[in-house]
Each structure stands twice: as structure tokens, then as C-alpha cells.
Amino acid sequence: MTALLEIRERIRGFCSRFEVYLLPVIKSILAFLTFYMIRSHLGYMTRLNGMTLTLVLALACALLPVNMIVVFAVLLVLLHLFSLSLAACLVCFLVVAVLFLLYFRFSPKKGFYAVLTPLAFIFHVPYVMPLVIGLLDDNPVSVLAMAGGTVMYYLLNGIVANDSAIADSILTKFEDVFNQFVGNREMLAMLAILVLAALIVWFIRRLSVDHAWTIAILTGCLLQFILRFICDMQLKLPGTVFSIFVPSALSAAVGFVLQFFFFNLDFTRTERVQFEDDEYYYYVKAIPKIYVAGTEKKVQKFSGDDAPITRKDLAQEMDIDEDLLDF
């Protein structure tokens, strides 16, 4: 455990030292992943499919605010859909417009959750998102960004799955495009599961109980596993227990990694103090963070004079008056 804590301190030190460079790199990687996934899953407009464009946009995102990833992603998606069918493009634009008007206008900083959620779906770990939001976000309203991302994923996924039907007809029926998410019971079930889990994780994490984060992570994962299992049974979705269990276990692992880095407390040294002033009586519970100081580096000299150099020696060596060395 001590070795792990030392590694954590080193990683933290590294991150704080090189934050200026790390942040653009992380933004760039996230942008690249997003644009690459759009390119490989949609890719209807061949002009946008060059790797150069993806790389240039990803590099540009390194210097731009994080929300520009969302803007570029939406533009790319709309252009690809425009190539497929005007109806698909218009429907996607309308859905984005509603999301923007109702939510992102108020909390634009959390727009990246709407990008991370479809990515999590693509990597088959959507259950990570409620844990990330519930554990790290102060504002539970951010679950709406996750919900927006979920709707976008199912809409695009449906369009990709039925692209031949949508693209074939000369004037595609809007109904065909809307059918990809209106009445999509799997989408509604996932929306409910993710939002409920995120709110419960957020609520438990803030409780004043020992091991609140651990309880929140385990409850969130278990809840998602059970609810998804019930939904699969009820809706007769083509999922197996294994296909639900593995992502849930992975999301629990991510949750514990987050806990290790952001909330590692030593509950054995909990202190409870009580005091009062004129107006209030205070019950304070203080839990120390687990912290390990970095190992001290020892410099072993194998040669040279061990005697420390004196001011007199230094002055003699530099051929100056000793008084000149007074700073």
C-alpha cells in the first residue's frame, strides 16, 4: 500500500508540475478519439475521412477550450449525416438544438460529458459515466449532459445500423430517422439507469458516513448491474449476464481508481471534536488523508573530498576578499 501511495504522490507531483503541458495533451487525445470514432463509425462524407483533418482538428483542440471538442464533433457528425441524408442531418441538428437550448446554455462547462458518454458506450463501459459524475462533480445537474450524450449515441447508432434504408429512398421519411430513438426502449432504459445511478452515487458520496465513497461506488455498480439485468429480461435485449457484469466490474475498478486519487482517507484516525460559541454547538468529524512523503534521495559519493568547503577556501580559490562573499 505504501508503494502505491508513493506512486500516487509521484503522479500527483508530475501532474502538478507539468499541468501546463498535460492539459493540452489530454484535450488533444480526447478530441482525437472523438473525431476518429466519428470518422470510423459514420464516415459518409469521404472528404472528411482523411487522417490529416482528424489530426489537425485534434491538435487545434489542444489550444482551444474543451467545449470546442463538442462543437467540432457536432459539426463533423452533421456533415457526415448530410452526406447520408438531409433528413438525418436535420433531425440530428434539431436534437442538438433542443439539448443546447434546454441545458448547455446554463452549464456549458460540462459539455464534454456529452462527448465522453458516447465514447464510453462505444468502448462498452457506459456504467463508468454515472460513477465519474457522481464522484467528481459537485453539481448533479451534470447528469443531463450525460443524458444528452446517451440520446445522441442511440440516435447515431440507429442511423448507422439502418443507413442503407435511410439513404436509399430519394426523399427519406423523417419518421424513419426519428424511429431510431423515439420509442427505443433500450435507450429509455439506459437513460433511466444511468441518470438514477449517477444521482444515487452523488447522494451517497456526500453523506457524512465512513467509507461514503466506497459505498457509493459499490451501490452505483450493483444498482446498474441489477437494473440492466432486469431491463434485459423485460425488454428481451440480446445481452448476457457476462456482457453486463464485465462493464460493471470495470466501472467499479475505475471508481476505485478515482477514489484512490481523489479521496483516500484514513478512517482509523478519525477524530471527533465538539465545541461551542455564542450561537452554535459544533460537532466536527475530521478524517486525515492518507499521505506518504516521498522517499528521500541519498547521494553517495564515491570519490572526492568529503570535507565541506568553507568560505575561506572559496575566497582563496576565487582570489577575492572573504568579505565579498557576505550576501
Binding site: L90, L94, V98, L101, R105, V141, F174, E175
Partner: protein, 133 residues
């Protein structure tokens, strides 16, 4: 000579300005009622547009059905129905906007109070030094 305590407060002030300043300083340019009112007004406009977009999507989805039945439909009843749904949606949405704006204003006041405390300590430290920096 470096005044450690003052430097500490100045670092905290700068960190606040960099991280939260852009979000919270503009909020306190308004009185609470004006701030919430402004948000409600913006919410009304964006909510109305969003409802319009949803209505458009609904219209596109049921386009064929609408075209087939438009001459037999009770248009007055349909319009009242749309209007009632709009009002219900707007009331719920504006309640959410109201709660959001109230919370944000309270949070901004709390944060700016902490900012002002650091600022006062810096000013006091200058006063104690007789105006020397």
C-alpha cells in the same frame, strides 16, 4: 522583504480569479431579483424556441398522418392542446431555471465573500506596515 502571509492571500485571490472569477464576478453585478429575472427571461425565450423545435420534430414525425387527417381535425382543439402543453412545459422549465439561478447567485455570494475576506486581510497587512509594500 517578502510578507509570507500577504503572498499566501494574494495567491489565493489570483487562483480564485483564474478559476471561478469569470463565472462569479459577473453574477454579483446584479441584485438577486434582477439576476433571477434575467435568467427567467432568457429561459422563457430558449424554452419557447426549444418547444417550437420539439413541435417541429413532432410535426415531421407525424407528417403523413397530419397530412391525411388535417381536413377532418378539430384545429381549435388541437391548438388549445398544443398551447396547454406549452404552458405546462414552460412552467416546469422556468421552475428549474429559477432554482438554478437562485442557487448560482447564493453560491456566487458565498464565494465572493471568501474572496473579500482575503482582500481585506491583504489591505489590513498594508495598513499595519504603514502603507509599505
Amino acid at each position: 522583504m517578502i510578507h509570507n502571509e500577504r503572498v499566501r492571500h494574494m495567491v489565493k485571490l489570483q487562483a480564485f480569479e483564474d478559476r471561478k472569477g469569470k463565472e462569479y464576478f459577473p453574477v454579483l453585478k446584479y441584485f438577486r431579483r434582477d439576476y433571477v429575472g434575467l435568467h427567467l427571461l432568457k429561459g422563457f425565450v430558449s424554452g419557447t424556441i426549444a418547444y417550437g423545435v420539439c413541435l417541429l420534430m413532432w410535426g415531421l414525425y407525424y407528417m403523413e398522418e397530419l397530412m391525411a387527417n388535417i381536413h377532418t381535425m378539430d384545429l381549435a382543439k388541437f391548438a388549445v392542446d398544443v398551447l396547454l402543453r406549452y404552458l405546462a412545459f414552460l412552467i416546469v422549465y422556468l421552475i428549474c431555471v429559477f432554482i438554478y439561478a437562485e442557487n448560482k447567485y447564493s453560491r456566487a455570494r458565498k464565494e465572493i465573500r471568501a474572496y473579500n475576506r482575503h482582500l481585506k486581510r491583504i489591505i489590513n497587512s498594508f495598513d499595519l506596515d504603514g502603507g509599505e509594500s
